[in-house]
Symmetry: C2
Subunit: 195 residues, 2 copies
């Protein structure tokens, strides 16, 4: 294997990258100015040193506290619970939510040995008890594991005297009824909104 | 922009990589062992030093001569002409061709200022005149530019007293007539094979 094939092989280990795409990426870099490769290499080498989880919410950050937790203008009475650190950025890009976040670090999956202790659930309850939080919005994925985790949290949180909600599940905007699966259609009926 | 977003931004400059894929790749690397990032960075940093075009055929190689040109078992009477260095690897992976290669370095594109002088055409003619080549197989892409370049080469090469051929164009194997475009269908009729 030469250097070009080795690079393509490494790229093909990344998620969603097949052999052909990996090879195309490697050739593109070879044909580009070496400064691009150098820059990319530098970003890769410093990534793990620069990025760490925010100690308050768990989102990825370079600072002591992430830009959301350190923003005095965010609504501290709203807490959005997500599975993964990268979900914070996805929700931020919708510009719909102005509160704070809490990253669980996964979902309950007993078969894989992931119980409540493996997730950031105790810190979540502690936060809800000690801070002035009016509503917890559970934004785990609309999957079996995400729903199970949401229900588990809902039971714990209602004991803390806080409003608990869950992101709506239903037809995606711009989607087509014809292509909606049975479960999504069921959800959209059960969650229908009077107009 | 933090280190994770910078890395995703760099990845999104690669061909075929959208913003979401780029972000997923960056998160994957952050979650992987740092040795993966280090290894990838090292491959990027050494790529341009290690890889250069083979002086004889133009394919990418790390050696003085590429493994094809230096292989005494290859059929030196067959020469396959391709557009790009990476096309050599694509054809090699089919295990169908046992001759040597010649990389043009592109196709004729007068509007972009690419004429015969910008491509490796003079060295090709020199090779055909001085070496014992019986057949030149033109494997430029079946596009307007690829076809034009093939016809241009065919005119020059027939004067060199060498057999000139072109890769067959037609329905892709496993494809469906229903989805074939008009031009491909035309080609498959004109190039039909008696059976």
């Amino acid at each position: 294997m030469n250097a070009l094939e080795e690079l393509a092989e490494s790229f093909s280990r990344l998620p969603g990258i097949g052999k052909k795409s990996a090879s195309r990426m490697a050739v593109y870099i070879l044909k580009s100015d070496p400064s691009f490769a150098k820059n990319l290499a530098n970003e890769l080498l410093t990534l793990h040193q620069r990025i760490h989880p925010c100690p308050h919410c768990g989102a990825y950050t370079e600072k002591d506290l992430c830009y959301i937790c350190s923003d005095p203008l965010r609504d501290k009475s709203l807490l959005c619970v997500v599975e993964q650190p990268q979900d914070v950025q996805t929700i931020e890009s919708s510009h719909e939510f102005s509160g704070l976040f809490h990253v669980l670090g996964g979902v309950l999956a007993p078969l894989e040995g992931i119980g409540p202790e493996q997730l950031s659930i105790a810190p979540l309850l502690e936060k809800v008890r000690s801070e002035q939080i009016a509503e917890v919005i559970i934004a785990t994925n609309p999957t079996v594991e995400g729903d199970t985790t949401a229900m588990y949290l809902q039971r714990l949180l209602t004991q803390c005297n806080v409003k608990v909600s869950r992101l709506a599940s239903g037809l995606p905007v711009g989607g087509d009824l014809e292509y909606a699966d049975k479960l999504t259609l069921q959800r959209s009926f059960r969650g229908r909104i009077s107009m």
